[in-house]
Subunit: 212 residues, 2 copies
């Protein structure tokens, strides 16, 4: 299945500005995007980047980086407009998976693509939409605030809806607590990159992170 991965290269992860400098936030965004692309590929699907500007990741740390050979479409419009233009052009089914989901594994991608519904939605923490599978030609996205419920309603208007109950798909990286989750559960590029810079403090009910 074609899997669109939207990537906003403009000032990523601003809510982490107290913990990470701008260059670091760009490196974090690249690590997360690589993890998503690698998981999609390992699950047997075809990722395509949908980027706000031409993509230039930092130099790859590996000989065969997961972005190699991935097509890039540049569209500097807001996320919803860019994704909807891509949906209109795409052969269905098509998936849309955000680039900042570093806990996604190939098995997670399998769970997303398994349900045979017209629209499959994986919610993000706080009511966003972190991943979608679209099998209905009229379904369009609207990522404006509270998009999970908006997308569920739209899906039910067009056909059948399935939701995916996955913490790995729910966890996008927006706050310091999210960094803690990646340190706890991640095993790949992003987790390694973060482990070099943050330590987990598990003395409280919920783990916190401290800059090394």
């Amino acid at each position: 299945m074609r899997v669109l991965v939207p990537l906003d290269t403009r000032d990523p992860n601003t809510r982490l500005a107290e913990l990470l400098e701008e260059k670091e936030r760009a490196a974090l965004a690249a690590a997360m995007c690589r993890d998503v692309l690698a998981a999609v590929r390992a699950a047997g699907h075809d990722p395509a980047l949908l980027a706000t500007a031409p993509v230039s990741f930092d130099a790859p740390a590996e000989s065969d980086p997961p972005e190699r050979g991935v097509p890039v479409t540049v569209d500097d419009r807001p996320l919803s407009a860019a994704v909807n233009a891509a949906l209109a052009d795409a052969e269905l089914p098509v998936a849309v998976v955000m680039a900042d989901l570093p806990l996604v594994t190939p098995a997670t991608v399998d769970r997303l693509t398994a349900p045979d519904a017209d629209v499959v939605i994986a919610p993000g923490l706080g009511g966003g939409t972190n991943a979608l599978v679209v099998r209905h030609p009229e379904f369009r996205v609207d990522y404006h605030g509270g998009s999970y419920r908006t997308h569920c309603r739209a899906a039910e208007q067009h056909g059948t809806l399935a939701t995916v109950d996955s913490f790995r798909l729910a966890l996008d990286v927006d706050t310091p607590a999210d960094i803690g989750e990646v340190l706890l559960h991640g095993e790949r590029r992003t987790a390694g990159w973060l482990a070099d810079r943050f330590a987990l403090d598990e003395s409280q009910d919920r783990a916190a992170v401290e800059r090394r």
Copy 2:
């Protein structure tokens, strides 16, 4: 399967004290526990409460409340000691599901009990352990900080380990953001109780809640 549901009746949900008075927090704890008991029963399992004191829920809002007929063991020791005593007495397999997981549905319980591993673990937000299935007689719990990783290591020492990737099992109610998740995804007692008292503000990247 026997499903132990530990319930600490002493000053529940203290981190919500700015939003909810003590009586309200007790009512919230009761609603969450009822939702967990109902989900366990509807999945075809046998819940048993493991409580720090004799349980007296508020008057039930329904004619057949899910706590009716559920055995209660009172053990006022700390959580780990009480659960380990119950594990030592239990016929295996046995599950341990926390009482503050209001998004758990019968389908979630099915996913927890499905893997045929010696120990099945569902992590909570921040590295805790929200649910377990124990099939190995020597496995014991230690819920002290960072219990998810502790339990994974212990499981691998004794036999096979499976983890469950479920946002519904990960979401315990500890912070205002967690209340938002229940309003977004809950459909039963807890969500109804919270919806009477809180409104969702979905204007930000992640939904916030406001006291009505």
